[in-house]
Symmetry: C2
Subunit: 469 residues, 2 copies
C-alpha cells in the first residue's frame, strides 16, 4: 500500500515542479514502467536465486587475498577476474596496461610508549600506505597530541620540532552518514604527516579512522607534499588513541618509539580489467560500471572493494542470464590502484579520450557490499529528474534514496568526457569497523546484501541503457 502511495507522490511532485516536456515524458513513462517493473523483477529473481557475486568474492578473498598494487596477488586478481568476466558472458574481455606505485610494508611494525616505571606500553600500529620507513632502528621522540590542524598551527614550530605528532581526530559519532565523519577526520591521515613535517615533526601517529573503539590499526594512503621532508607515519588503533590521549592529559609528556620498514619501490606494471557486452543499437555509447581490484595488504579487501568488483561482473552475468540485450555497450571495469594512486582510473580516462569514446553513464560501487539504500547522483538537473522518475521501481528492493552527490574516485574522472555519474550507497554503519583493517574479510559480507546491491545496480544500468539519460 505504501508502495503505491509513493508512486503517486512522485508523480504529483513532478507535475508541480518540472517543465512541460518532462510532464509529457511522465505520461509516456507511466506505460513504460509496467514493462520495466517486470524486467527488473526478472533481474532480481535471477540474482537472488542464482547470483555468482558471492562465490566470486569468496575466490578473490580466500584464494587470492590481499592485493595491493604491484603485488603478485594483484596480478592473480587480474587473471582471476578475466576468467570471471568471460564466464559471466562478456563478449570481449581485455586489459588496459598501466604503471602503478609499488609500495611494500616491510616487516611487521613495532611501537610502544615508555611508561614512568620503565616498562613499555605496546601499540597496535601499522604504517600508513605510501609512508616512508623509519630505518631499522626506528625513531624515538616525545609525543604531542593535536585534535585539529588549527591546534597544530597554534602550537607552531617551537613546540613541534623534533617530536612525534599524534593526530587524534575522532570520527564524529553523531553523523548518521559515517562517510561524512570519515571525510571530516580523514585529513589527519592524508595530509597530516606532511603538515606535521612542515612544523619540524620527525614522525606521526594517526588515530585510526574507525567508527567504533577497537584494537585494530586501520591503514590508508598518506599523500606527501614534496615541499617538506617525508616523515614516517603510522596508524594506531582507536583504543590505543583513547589510552594515549588520557595518559598525555595525566603526564603532559610521554616518549614513544616506532619502527616501520616500509618503502616505495619503482613503479610496477599492472592492469585494469575490462569486460564488455557490446550494444546492439548504439554500440559506441558506453555505460561503465566498476569497482577497484586492488586492496590494502592487511586483509582480504572483501568490502573494500572486492564487493564492487564482483557486483560489476554480476551485472553482465544477470543481463545475459535474463536475456536482456543492451542497446548500448555495457562495460564492467575492475580498476587498479584506487587505494594508493588512482592510476587505473587515470588510465581509463586517458584511453577514453585517446579513443574518443562516448561515455554516457558510469556507476561505481566502492562503499561496501552492504545492504543498499540508494544512489548518489552526479549529473545534470534534467538527468537527475529523469532518474528520480524511476525511483518507485527500486522501492521494493530496499533502495529509496536518490540524491545529488559524489560518485566515486574511479569513475569520477569520466566527468571530463561528459559522463553522468552515480555511486551505489549501501548502508554505512558497519563499514568503518573494517575499512582498511584486518577485519575486512569475506566473513564480513552478507550474501543477500551483496546480491541485493548487484540487483539494484543492474536495474539502474538497465533503465539508463533502455531510456537513455
Amino acid at each position: 500500500m505504501l508502495f503505491i502511495a509513493t508512486n503517486n507522490l512522485n508523480i504529483i511532485m513532478i507535475r508541480k515542479t518540472l517543465p512541460v516536456f518532462l510532464t509529457l515524458f511522465i505520461s509516456i513513462g507511466a506505460f513504460a514502467q509496467q514493462e520495466d517493473s517486470i524486467a527488473i523483477k526478472n533481474i532480481a529473481d535471477e540474482i537472488l536465486t542464482n547470483g555468482k557475486a558471492y562465490d566470486n568474492l569468496r575466490y578473490i578473498c580466500k584464494k587470492i587475498g590481499p592485493r595491493l598494487s604491484g603485488s603478485a596477488q594483484a596480478q592473480k586478481a587480474v587473471e582471476a577476474t578475466v576468467k570471471m568476466l568471460k564466464e559471466a558472458g562478456a563478449d570481449t574481455v581485455y586489459l588496459q596496461p598501466c604503471m602503478v606505485p609499488h609500495w611494500v610494508r616491510g616487516e611487521k611494525e613495532v611501537g610502544y610508549v615508555k611508561l614512568a616505571n620503565g616498562t613499555k606500553y605496546n601499540l597496535n600500529l601499522c604504517a600508513l600506505g605510501n609512508s616512508e620507513g623509519t630505518g631499522v632502528k626506528g625513531i624515538t621522540a616525545s609525543v604531542i597530541e593535536v585534535t585539529s590542524f588549527a591546534e597544530l598551527e597554534q602550537l607552531g614550530k617551537d613546540a613541534i620540532r623534533g617530536k612525534i605528532v599524534f593526530f587524534n581526530f575522532k570520527m564524529n559519532p553523531t553523523y548518521v552518514t559515517t562517510f561524512m565523519a570519515y571525510g571530516e577526520s580523514g585529513g589527519a591521515r592524508t595530509i597530516g604527516p606532511s603538515k606535521a613535517a612542515s612544523f619540524g615533526a620527525i614522525g606521526v601517529l594517526v588515530r585510526s579512522l574507525a567508527s567504533n573503539p577497537d584494537d585494530y590499526p586501520h591503514t590508508g594512503v598518506t599523500i606527501y607534499n614534496d615541499s617538506f621532508p617525508k616523515i614516517p607515519a603510522v596508524a594506531i588503533s582507536t583504543n590505543n588513541a583513547d589510552w594515549l590521549s588520557r595518559e598525555l592529559k595525566k603526564k603532559m609528556s610521554l616518549t614513544a618509539y616506532f619502527r616501520n620498514t616500509s618503502t616505495m619501490l619503482p613503479d610496477a606494471p599492472s592492469f585494469n580489467v575490462v569486460g564488455e557486452i557490446r550494444g546492439a543499437e548504439l554500440p559506441a555509447e558506453i555505460i561503465t560500471v566498476g569497482g577497484h581490484l586492488d586492496s590494502w595488504d592487511l586483509a582480504e579487501g572483501a568490502q573494500d572493494d572486492g564487493a564492487g568488483c564482483v557486483q560489476g561482473i554480476e551485472i553482465l552475468r544477470a543481463l545475459k542470464a535474463t536475456g536482456i540485450q543492451p542497446k548500448r555497450t555495457i562495460r564492467a571495469v575492475m580498476f587498479m590502484n584506487e587505494e594508493n594512486g588512482g592510476r587505473g582510473a587515470n588510465k581509463y580516462l586517458e584511453l577514453a579520450q585517446l579513443n574518443k569514446e562516448k561515455h554516457v553513464f558510469a556507476l561505481e560501487s566502492d562503499a561496501g557490499g552492504f545492504t543498499p539504500r540508494g544512489f548518489s547522483l552526479n549529473m545534470t538537473a534534467a538527468q537527475l529528474a529523469k532518474v528520480q522518475l524511476w525511483k518507485n521501481l527500486f522501492y521494493q528492493y530496499g533502495v529509496y534514496d536518490f540524491s545529488a552527490g559524489g560518485s566515486g574516485s574511479d569513475v569520477g574522472p569520466l566527468k571530463e568526457v561528459g559522463a553522468a555519474l552515480a555511486g551505489l550507497r549501501p548502508d554505512g554503519q558497519r563499514y568503518f569497523d573494517l575499512h582498511h583493517a584486518a577485519t575486512d574479510v569475506f566473513e564480513a559480507v552478507s550474501r543477500r546484501e551483496l546480491h541485493l546491491g548487484a540487483l539494484n545496480m543492474t536495474a539502474l544500468i538497465y533503465l539508463v541503457d533502455k531510456h537513455g539519460l
Copy 2:
C-alpha cells in the same frame, strides 16, 4: 534537498486524502515539527555518543549467554536487566511473576543417513524447541521428502506410516523481505511434526529456516497438536537438506537415524522485568516498549532478542539523559518466554486487564538489532495517518518506511486492551543467517546499527508521548 521534497510530498498526499480535521492538524504540526526535530537530534546525539545498549548487550551475551525459559541463565538475565533498568534511570523497576514451560535439550543430538557402502553420513542437527525425545536408543526409519503439505497429504498414510518425514521447505530467496519467506516456510517447523504424525510418521527432519546455505541447524519451536502422537522432530542444516534431497532423488530410498534426549519438565517460575518512567501529566496512560529476554539455548541470543531488550532499556536512559520528562508513563518490558510459549506476553496482558490499565501504544523490537529501515504499524487508519505525518523527522536517521503491518508477538496481545501497536523493522538480509542458530552471538551485532535502532525507537516513543495518538 531530497529530504525537503519528501516533507512536501507527505503534506500534498495528506491534503488530498484525509478529512478536514487532519488538515487543520497539519498546519499546527508544521510549527511543532521544528521543536520535535531539535528534541530528536538531542536524543540521536546522546545515543550515538553515549549509548549503553551495546555494552549491556555484551553483558547479557558474554556474561550470561543462552537463556532459555526456565533455565538458570534466564533467571540471571532477569536480575541483570533489573540492575540495568535502575542504572538507566527508571523510577520503578519490578517483576511480573509467570510460570513458563521448562524444556531441556538433553545430550547433544546425533543423527546420520546410512549410505549404500555401509558408512554413515553425519547430519548437523538439533531438536526443535519443545520436541519430545527419541529415547536413548534413537529412531531409525526410511526417509520420505516432502516440499509442501499438499505433497504430504497426497502421499497419504500408506506411504508415510512408520517413516521419518523430511520437510524440505526452502525459504524463497526472491522475497526481499526475508520475514515473508520465513512466514511462508515456517509451517514445516511449527505444525509439520504433528501433521506428519497424523499420517503415521515416527519422526521428522525439518530443513532449517535459514536464508542461505550453511552448516548450522536452526532450532525454533514446534507446536504439537494434542490429537496426534508427539513424535520427535529435529532441524537439519540447509546444506544437509540440499544433500539429502539430491541423494533421495538418486536412490529413492534412504534410511536415517537420529537421537535426541530432549524433554519437557514441569512448568517453572519466571518473570517479566518492567522498568518505568512515570508520566508527569497523564501517568495512567501507558506506553510500552519491549523485547524478549529469553533466547534459544544454542547461542547468545544477541540479535534474537537481546538487542530488543537493551534497546528498550536505552530508551529510558536516553529520555532521562536528554532531560525529557514524558507526559505518559513509559515502560520498558523484558518479556519472558517469547520463544516457546508466550507466557510473559500473556501475563502482561492479564495484569493490564486485571489492573484496568490504559494502554495507548506499544512498540516491539524483535526482528534484530540491524540497521533500522522503518516501523510496521498496527493501528487505526487515523492513527496511522498521524504517525505518517512524522515520517520526515526520521529520514535522516535511516528510517523511511512506515507501513501498516504486524507489531510482534509480545506486544500483539495488547490489541485486546485497545493499544495502538508498532514493530521496529530493521534490515532483514542477515537475520536468517543466525536466527535460532549457534551464530547468533554478540559479534554479529553492530554497535552503530543497534544504537540507530534505539534512537529511532526513542524518537517514536517521544512523539507518541508528546502528541498522543
